[in-house]
Amino acid sequence: MEETSTNSQRLRTIIALTSGGLTARIHEFWTHPRLGDLYPEFLFGLYGIVVASTPLIRHAGVEAEKLASADPLARLLAPYLQEHAEEETGHEEWLLEDLATLGFGREQVLHRLPYTSVSSLVGSQYYLAAHVHPVAMLGYLAVLENPAAPEFLEEVAHRNHLPIESFSTLLKHARLDVGHVAEFDHMLDTLQFTQKQRDIMTMSAISSVSYLEAFFEEVLEHFNRADDEHWANSIFHYGSRQSPIQASRAEALRANEAAGQLALK
């Protein structure tokens, strides 16, 4: 059967067809009864993805550059990916600032290991770019670059009593990326793919949907473990975080108790 759809329509249809489980997890996440308490945990997970964005896209751009002399698609991809890598620069700092507004310092974030789903999602793209073809990056970007609407994020912040400042990364993307999806699709429609290149892009999109679903499952799993004594200290709770005043009171209390114990000896 001869296809009449454009590159972007075809890819978007495949992504939509395979995103049922992912959409269900995302819906479950944003409507979770404890979202207000555990939103920092999501930001931590997201940090793992965003911190890798610029190096990953740049890596794919370098791989495209290597193929450029013999591959017309790679020749077009190389400058696009290099430029896109620059656009993503520094966004991980936005996330660190958002986490700081919720009481989580840079050291706490950097001390933790990333989710395994994050290393699978990002790591698979390094592999595809280096050992298969950097066109895979287009499938990844088509799945991940799809920000929520600003009014939805504002409503979530309000409903969960979260400071709007802690949504700055998501809101900046939501506001700055207006039309970004359409631009990306337009770019996709100007490219000529071989059957193999198209297969690689589709495979990358399908696996990204799958790993992203695993990412949201991992976030939700952390939510479920938050009350377990064994895990509680390693999960970022907003509700249980202490303000500087509370922290200094607790410190003073601990010092008094220690002094009391010493006096008893």
Binding site: G20, G21, T23, S53, E88, T169, Q195, I206
Partner: protein, 67 residues
């Protein structure tokens, strides 16, 4: 055997939850490598019912993520 039939056989398209004619057209035009990718990640295409349902309401506001 068409791609749709192949994916039904693999349990990835729920028979009680049929695809739209446009989706059937897209799926049947997939290459064997693309079908293999769907099978390898066990992408349940029938679940798109939920996705469509949310999208028809206000689900489009959820987005996916961002990089």
């Amino acid at each position: 055997m068409t791609n749709v039939e192949q994916l039904q056989q693999a349990g990835l398209i729920q028979t009680h939850n049929p695809l739209t004619p446009e989706e059937v057209e897209t799926v049947n035009a997939l290459s064997s490598a693309e079908v293999e990718a769907l099978i390898s990640v066990k992408a349940k295409l029938g679940d798109s019912f939920f996705q469509r349902k949310v999208k028809d309401g206000d689900g489009h506001r959820l987005g996916t993520l961002l990089v």
